[in-house]
């Protein structure tokens, strides 16, 4: 394409061929000449530039329609799955990091009537990373604010983290997308919308008019779009609700025996019972509130009722941030660590040695690396931005995450332990407890969700392990969902409907059909969606009587 024919702010983007995702789990080929990089000159956040970018996105969509090409926005290329890939091209969004504070006249009357103020909101462009957002909120705004929830690391763009269901471990708060209260979505060459819940309006007509958008205030539509992995158009701007800056104080408990009492306390979220089992775990008070709960487990150094071979429990408590506290987001001092090629080398060794490696190599490997993989202790309270920092990209790592109802979490752990005995897993598992989401296809869909994360070296043996775990959960009728942005290759149309239920999937599809016309739907449909039956081309194949939340009659796939 000739650069002379591109609008100002649109540059050609030539992805490597083949293109590799950031974690090097797959390679992909984009259509040559179909990708663009969107840029904004200058260092000030101007509405004029923001609206010009809206027009640029519309131009890209019109080109895609004209050329019969699909497109997808690409943030930091973080996802482990191909959820964000397409056969056509990409619009890279890392250059789109304008940010705006809404004035009082930008707030909906109902929002202000609820006691909220303009300080509670920030409007950011899609390419703003969580890291960037933390710096803005914690260091540059007055009064200082912070995000409500974060993933384990902060390199994702806000749009990407939102769209795939990045979750963290905020026990009472929810996932990253649960603090998004408004979306500006470009839906076609001539259309773009401001989308928010009717039950929780935040923006005034003045704000919507400033963007030049059409307002849609609809709970179902918002809940469908907020976790839609790029399928509902290009999310250009997000309104995020924030909190006054707080600190997170860590209380960690190593070598916690896995007992029936612990299982009961965790599965029922009985905090007094948990505190009795974890001496030193504080009680909630005015100045200290439990925020984050996480459990780590070494599958090769674990024994029930044994302290020495027990669990590692991490909690974070929210506490007031002193006015004089200065957050520091500077890079941390470097330490000796393993090189970027090590996971790949381990992967090759596992491939070559096969079952021999499984039996003799994996356990010592995991035991050696387990302690280094655990989050380092945080002796002093820090902000959420300082706590969940940038994770250095390591290639050829495999990460899979499944969500279960908290009451079922240890049944899922038992499945993992059993599969590990048959097929050793070159990695570790962690449990993070997250409040359930309203998002239609948010994978943290259980009211009290627990995300079981499995992180290891990306090798066929690891992927086989993941698949065995998933299939065993189904065989035992334990309902679960899979993280859209992590390894989830077992997903198909039938599974998605089983995981979320017919009503949710049909509702999501109906919203998409209502929001996007046929041309736009074609542009924003990719192979992943077709595989999952989310392109709208498949009818339900699951019998109406098939249960979603799991009972003895669930059909194993």
């Amino acid at each position: 394409m000739s650069t002379m024919s591109l609008p100002k702010g649109v540059l050609p983007f030539i992805p490597n061929d083949p293109w590799e995702n950031g974690h090097q789990n797959f390679k992909h080929r984009f259509k040559p000449g179909a990708s663009y990089d969107l840029r904004i000159d200058g260092v000030h956040s101007n509405l004029k530039d923001y609206n010009a970018t809206t027009a640029n996105i519309q131009w890209v969509i019109s080109e895609a329609i004209k050329n019969g090409t699909s497109i997808r926005a690409m943030g930091n290329n973080w996802s482990f799955s191909e959820v964000a890939m397409c056969d056509g091209g990409v619009i890279t969004t890392k250059g789109l990091n304008l940010w705006f504070r809404p004035g009082n006249s930008s707030l909906a009357t109902e929002y202000k009537a609820g006691g909220k103020t303009k300080e509670d909101l920030l409007f950011v462009q899609c390419g703003t990373t969580i890291c960037n957002l933390n710096e803005i909120l914690e260091q540059r705004l007055e009064p200082r604010r912070c995000i409500v929830a974060s993933g384990g690391s902060n390199g994702q763009t806000l749009a990407g983290a939102t769209s795939t269901g990045t979750h963290g471990g905020a026990l009472f708060t929810g996932a990253v997308h649960d603090s998004i209260v408004g979306l500006h979505i470009v839906t076609g060459p001539d259309t773009h919308v401001w989308l928010e819940r009717a039950s929780y309006p935040v923006a005034s007509d003045e704000f919507v008019n400033a963007l030049g958008a059409t307002a849609i205030r609809d709970d179902a539509m918002f809940n469908a779009a907020v976790v839609s992995f790029g399928s509902f158009g290009i999310i250009h701007g997000l309104m995020i609700e924030t909190e006054p800056l707080y600190l997170l104080e860590e209380y960690r408990f190593d070598h916690v025996p896995y007992t029936d009492g612990l299982v009961e306390a965790i599965t029922t979220l009985n905090l007094p019972a948990l505190r009795a089992l974890l001496p030193g775990m504080p009680e909630d008070s005015d100045g200290l509130k439990l925020y984050h709960l996480e459990i780590n487990l070494n599958l090769f150094d674990f024994e029930k009722n044994s302290a020495e071979k027990g669990l590692y429990v991490r909690t974070f408590y929210k506490k007031t941030c002193p006015p004089e506290y200065e957050p520091n987001h500077d890079p941390e001092e470097g330490a000796r660590s393993y090189g970027d090629d090590l996971p790949g080398i381990i992967s090759r060794v596992l491939d070559v040695l096969g079952p021999v490696a499984d039996k003799h190599l994996i356990a010592p490997l995991v035991n050696t690396l387990f302690k280094t993989a655990l989050r380092a202790a945080q002796p002093a309270p820090k902000t959420i931005g300082e706590t969940f920092r940038y994770t250095r990209f390591r290639g050829q790592l495999a990460s899979a995450a499944l969500a279960v109802e908290t009451k079922n979490v240890f049944k899922a752990v038992e499945v993992v332990l059993a599969v590990n005995r048959e097929h050793p897993f070159a990695g570790g598992i962690a449990l993070r407890f997250v409040k359930g989401t309203q998002a239609t296809l948010g994978f943290t869909r259980f009211e009290h969700s627990c995300v079981l994360e499995m992180d290891g070296v990306d090798a066929p043996t690891t992927r086989a392990f993941f698949e065995k775990v998933w299939l065993r959960l189904e065989a035992q009728s334990i309902p679960y969902t899979l993280h859209w942005g992590k390894l989830n290759f077992v997903l198909n149309a039938e599974r998605v409907r089983r995981m979320y239920g017919e009503d949710r999937v049909e509702g999501w599809l109906a919203c998409r059909n209502a929001l996007l016309d046929a041309d736009a739907r074609k542009v924003f449909t990719n192979g992943f969606m077709r595989k999952c039956g989310l392109d709208g081309s498949q009818q339900s194949t699951v019998p109406a009587s098939s249960p979603v939340d799991g009972d003895a009659n669930s059909i194993a796939v």
Partner: protein, 117 residues
């Protein structure tokens, strides 16, 4: 076919090692985690050509432009070497030293705006 001598095996091993461009040693310094491009697993967003310096640095290269956009600076820089580079540098006694650099540019640093009054 005559078996290789010890010398031959040594040269073969050196050749194989030198040809393994994926076997690299690198050091990275970064000032900021943010980049203005999607992350690439193996490389940073800007990959420079192999640069040669000669005669122990007496003949080198002028600094070249990083290509960062306005409001953005280099956030991460990586120098890589590999067995081939090391061998060339050693064999030439430092007369010819190849080097390769990669770097990221940060996201532009923006001041905030306001929408509404």
């Amino acid at each position: 076919m005559k078996p290789l001598s010890l010398h031959g095996y040594t040269m073969l091993l050196l050749l194989i090692t030198a040809s393994q461009t994926s076997c690299k040693v690198s050091e990275t310094v970064f000032s900021h985690a943010n980049t203005d491009q999607p992350a690439r697993g193996r490389h940073l967003s800007h990959v420079g050509k192999t640069h040669w310096s000669y005669f122990w640095g007496l003949l080198g290269n002028e600094p070249w432009a990083a290509g960062c956009q306005q409001g953005s600076d280099i956030s991460r820089a990586r120098v890589t070497t590999n067995p081939g580079f090391i061998i060339i540098s050693f064999v030439s006694l430092g007369i010819a030293v190849p080097q390769k650099m990669e770097w990221d540019c940060s996201q532009p640093f923006r001041s905030g705006g306001t929408i509404g009054q």
